[in-house]
């Protein structure tokens, strides 16, 4: 009986031994890398949306840090502000919101993201769903008016792009097609961080090169989305919204590089990461093509977060010589 109690069998074998631990790869350093990777996106958001971006970034950043400090204090644990994870959540959350959204949306989304998305599960590393997307989904359903397509447009905005419809919505409603140029550089309306494909690719590649983000996830997402968009084009050759529009428009790239790659809520094994990426790409395209929403990255990531334990279970590597 005693021997049984002391014997410890790990549940998930990530990879065969040796398990090296590295002092270079702490949460704090990874999160700093993510912040660096996000900087081109933040820069483009500031350039395109001016103080709308400043306002939203400040609200979500302060909101997330305050929520983290408060909830960790309630759980009587030392606040984990200095690992930057709350800051990353805040910035990704802000970049996923419309610039014209009223202030309380950022505040509520931040509190929900940290509180219900992360702390109730036990804090960093324990959450099932991506915190920023939990916060966004909450406000998306709670304030459908301010977060839906009409919420992105403000007729009397001081910044030009905000007066226009987002490319995804314009296409869904009227069939108007944005130019690939504007989608690539990002001079369109949309969520703060999603407009510029270039900025997302630059920051995303940096993360992949640094191995902070696993390349399998964005690769799986983009390839699957491209393939499905290609099929959609073949089925409807008259549509002017091509596969490239699907890739560069909306938040596919931002989601693939920055949201889906959250190491806590994505699978552990390389094969699992690829499956995860394929699933995200698949659901994004299904939601874009067949749902009432113009975009589906948030729900796609949340759905795949939900099946991550299952993917982990499927893709446990078998150590050499182990009996299946």
């Amino acid at each position: 009986m005693k021997a049984e109690q002391t014997q410890y069998t790990p549940v998930i074998h990530v990879s065969p031994a040796p398990h090296l631990s590295s002092r270079d790869l702490t949460t704090r350093k990874m999160m700093r890398d993510v912040l660096l990777g996000l900087s081109p996106v933040v820069f483009m958001a500031l350039y395109v949306f001016h103080w709308y971006a400043v306002k939203q970034l400040m609200i979500c950043l302060l909101g997330c840090l305050a929520a983290e400090a408060l909830f960790m204090k309630m759980r009587a644990k030392s606040a984990t502000l200095n690992d930057y994870s709350a800051a990353v959540t805040g910035i990704i959350l802000a970049l996923s919101l419309p610039g014209a959204a009223p202030w309380y949306i950022g505040v509520i989304a931040s509190v929900v993201a940290i509180g219900m998305g992360k702390v109730v599960f036990g804090g960093i590393g324990m959450n099932i769903f991506n915190p920023a997307m939990v916060g966004r989904a909450f406000v998306m359903i709670a304030f459908a008016g301010a977060m839906g397509a009409p919420g992105y447009e403000q007729i009397h905005a001081t910044v030009d792009v905000i007066t226009r419809a987002t490319p995804m919505d314009a296409f869904k409603q009227t069939g108007a097609v944005a130019s690939l140029d504007s989608l690539f550089w990002g001079l369109t309306n949309g969520s703060l961080g999603e407009t510029s494909a270039l900025a997302c690719i630059l920051g995303g590649l940096y993360l992949c090169v640094r191995r902070t983000a696993s390349w399998q996830i964005p690769a799986g997402t983009v390839v699957t989305a491209a393939a499905l968009a290609g099929i959609a084009n073949l089925v409807h050759p008259e549509s002017n919204w091509t596969a490239l529009h699907h890739l560069l428009g909306g938040s596919l790239l931002f989601g693939a590089f920055f949201i889906a790659t959250d190491p806590v809520t994505s699978p552990l094994t390389p094969k699992g990461k690829f499956i995860f990426g394929i699933g995200v790409g698949f659901f994004v395209m299904v939601l874009r093509l067949f749902s009432g929403y113009p975009e589906g990255v948030m729900f796609a990531v949340l759905l795949m977060n939900g099946v991550t334990p299952l993917i982990n279970h499927w893709t446990i590597p078998r150590p050499l010589g182990a009996i299946p």
Binding site: I108, I141, A142
Partner: protein, 209 residues
Amino acid sequence: MAVAPTPAERFIQGILPENPVYRQLLGLCPTLAVTNGLQAALTMAGAVAFVLFCANIVTSTIRHLLKPHLRIVIFTLIIATFVTITDRFLAAYMYGMSKLLGPYIPLIIVNCIIICRCEVCASRQSVFAAGADALGQATGFALALVSIAAVRELLGSGMLFSVQVLPESWPNWVIMILPPGAFMTLGLLVGAVNWFEQRRSEQAESERG
């Protein structure tokens, strides 16, 4: 052998320490379904209280006649009788509310709080104890429903009892009126009550020792 609780203790226990929703997690179906407004929640709580009290009294009265293998059938028949009375009463005198609650009134027949109380208390205890137990559990159920509904209605529409209490500029949290809001509110409140009870038992512990 522990001393059996007095009827007064049974009543007190039902309100918070053994609250049917927050502590026993029973009767969650109506708890989630009808708590998007205080009026509906109070009506449901009233209906459950009536059925629970009557069923407990009747069960306790005939407890010596019960045959073990037929007892659940008898419970269900007794409960169904009182649910039918409630259902017809609501349809006659509160037609709008009856429409709003729809199938959830007939569904009280399978409400596990009532069967649970018939089984664990009424079929073994005196009429007086069963009545006190029913009142305590019903009060606890009403407390849970009203607290959840208050949070949901206030945040979701800025109203309490359909009267606007928050300023008109309050942005309605539509999600709180929808089913996800019910689950989140229930989860957070269960957490809050657990925390409260834990603190209370720790206090009692330190006083004793």
